[in-house]
């Protein structure tokens, strides 16, 4: 009796493993970032409660632009072309700042390891992160979208110069929010680091910059009610096979994404394809802004932890000093004018 029981359990276990492995292969996206997809037998790790395991430290740093460059028409570079682009990117980043210039006073990115080429980044043969539309560009805007962009530009002009008041400065300089969390998640200027942690019912994405947390429930609960809007929207996730699908709504109008409206809906797909890589794909649906949805694919590579605390606002001396400096400049200019006029 024991022989047959154990044997049948073994057969069942093998069958389950084969089915799961087949599912992993089926989920691997076509048009992969790597032109020569590896044929190694890698098994998707699982969390203790059975979710595909996306946990770890990841970066989405890349040299690939969101939109295809003007003079490029193909979808993929050759390996040599891609290597040349990365080499030129690394040279640009390594250019030493000239002493006494503004870039030198700000800081040399390479001094603090803030540049991409000294850290982990995803090598990508794609000529653009955008994979749909096929021309690799953000689709045309609707009339409503263009009007909104123009109105926002007008409102910005009415508010005055960027150093006139804190509210005129970029959101990142104010330590309100940067590109990292989105959604969609794109690499900020540096420290494009994320930590994914999974517990039953939740996927948590900790973004290093400004320590923003995306807490994504998997329980099928409804999004926040429509009158409650948030900087990072309201996200709900579910597993479709081995892919985490996250839908986000309830955005505010305070941080438009490439001109989006607050009715934008973002659908993200996270698929771990090997030990070191999550393929992250996002789709933007915003019919009041663009004539059609558009999608991009961003490889995330495993990197080394831990994430450090980024107490952005607490350490934001630069913001106050920039404003104070602008006021001191105005005062000095006013005094010089007064002196000239009094002669």
């Amino acid at each position: 009796m024991s022989h047959r029981y154990f044997a049948s359990v073994s057969v069942l276990a093998v069958l389950i493993a084969v089915v799961l492995f087949a599912l992993v292969l089926a989920q691997a996206p076509s048009g992969d970032a790597k032109a020569d997809a590896p044929a190694k037998t890698w098994n998707m790790p699982r969390t203790p409660d059975g979710q595909p395991d996306l946990q770890g430290f990841w970066t989405n740093a890349t040299y690939t632009p969101l939109e295809r460059p003007k003079d490029v028409t193909k979808e993929f570079y050759t390996k040599e072309e891609a290597a040349e682009i990365e080499k030129r990117g690394a040279e640009r980043e390594s250019a030493q700042t000239v002493p006494g210039t503004i870039p030198d006073v700000h800081y040399d990115f390479t001094q603090f390891g803030l540049d991409r080429h000294q850290g982990t980044y995803a090598s990508n043969l794609r000529t653009s992160l955008i994979v749909d539309p096929p021309d690799g560009k953000i689709p045309p805007m609707t009339v409503e979208g263009q009007t909104r962009v123009a109105e926002r530009a007008e409102a910005r002009k009415r508010r005055g110069g960027p150093n006139d008041a804190v509210q005129n400065m970029p959101l990142g300089a104010r330590c309100l929010i940067m590109e990292g969390p989105g959604p969609p998640m794109l690499a900020p200027a540096y420290n494009s680091n994320y930590q994914i942690v999974q517990a039953p019912g939740y996927v948590m994405i900790l973004v290093e910059m400004i320590h923003d947390v995306r807490m994504i429930p998997l329980d099928g609960s409804p999004h926040l009610p429509p009158h409650i809007r948030q900087w990072m929207g309201s996200s709900r996730g579910r597993w479709e096979g081995e892919t985490l699908v996250v839908e986000t709504t309830n955005f505010t109008d305070k941080n438009p994404f490439r001109g989006s409206s607050e009715t934008m809906r973002v659908i993200e797909r996270f698929t771990r394809v090997d030990e070191d890589t999550i393929v992250y794909k996002f789709t933007i649906e915003d019919p009041s802004t663009w004539t059609r949805p558009w999608s991009a694919e961003v490889p995330m590579k495993q990197t080394v932890g831990p994430l450090f605390e980024h107490a952005c606002h607490e350490g934001n001396y630069g913001l106050a000093n920039t404003l104070a400096g602008a006021r001191a400049e105005e005062k000095r200019a006013a005094e010089e004018t007064a002196k000239k006029e009094s002669r």
Binding site: L176, Y202, M204, I228, E309, A311, A320
Partner: protein, 270 residues
């Protein structure tokens, strides 16, 4: 092939003994044994909140006026305090700083500027927080300012740099999660009453489930530059039971910009 379960009497007794010990409540408070996570640890996952007046003043206090313009909204509610065994033992040399902080609390409290609250203040802010528990990392995410604490369950070594929320190593002692934190800067307060610390702060916290909906939270605070001995606070933490309980965004930096930078606005030219 042998069967998994052996039939001998000795083996049966051994198995029974193991099962008995496994289900006997360990030494948690009131003998409550929390359900287990998949890796066999007490399950502290959930959304929790303190409901007391500790954030106003961790020591016992009567009600007091707040800023006049805020009337009863900004008045300080009374509280019995959460400090165990007498007043906070400030060293005589630094006791004056506590009074100085208290006297200028309506301008000097880091909470006014939406600064990160540190430990243990983050635990008893008037906002929920979420515990996300895995074998290697236990994340504590505060709704307040989106503050995050990473509790490393594998020894992370010494803190690589000072931080606002500290550097935390966690371990299990039976039913209790013990969190040992160092690497703090000296910028946070313990409450709105100006109780403070230095960068030598060392906090040991204990989280123990005492019912399906309560944790008992204890924190022992040690700081040889500020206090003459370690001292302790304790309080219940309550599970948020609403069906759709979730952390919402409290990105308060936006709300304090006028307070912090309004005086640097360009004035219209005359």
């Amino acid at each position: 092939m042998r069967m998994w379960v052996m039939c001998s009497t000795r083996a049966t007794l051994a198995v029974a003994a193991v099962l008995f010990l496994a289900v006997t409540p360990a030494a948690g408070q009131a003998g409550y044994r929390a359900p287990r996570t998949a890796d066999g640890k007490p399950n502290l996952n959930g959304i929790w909140q303190a409901f007391n007046d500790a954030n106003w003043d961790i020591e016992g206090h009567a009600a007091q006026a707040g800023p006049p313009a805020l009337g009863a909204i900004g008045a300080i509610p009374p509280g019995l305090g959460v400090v165990e065994g007498g007043p906070i033992p400030y060293l005589p040399a630094v006791a004056a700083k506590k009074k100085e902080n208290f006297d200028k609390r309506w301008t000097a409290d880091p909470e006014l500027k939406c600064y990160l609250p540190g430990v243990p203040r983050g635990t008893y802010m008037p906002h929920p927080f979420q515990i996300l528990q895995t074998p290697k990392y236990i994340m504590i995410v505060l709704q307040y300012a989106g503050a995050v604490r990473t509790i490393y369950m594998d020894d992370p070594g010494p803190a690589p740099a000072d931080s606002w929320m500290g550097w935390s190593a966690g371990r299990w002692e039976g039913e209790t999660l013990v969190v040992d934190s160092t690497g703090f800067n000296d910028q946070t307060w313990f409450d709105r009453a100006g109780n403070f610390h230095s960068d030598a702060l060392h906090v040991v916290e204990r989280f123990t489930a005492t019912s399906p909906h309560h944790l008992t939270y204890e924190a022992t605070i040690e700081d040889p530059k500020v206090f003459s001995r370690p001292w302790k606070i304790s309080m219940p933490l309550y599970r948020r039971l609403e069906q759709n309980a979730q952390l919402m965004e409290f990105k308060c930096v936006e709300f304090v910009e006028e307070l912090m930078y309004g005086h640097l606005r360009k004035q219209p030219s005359k």
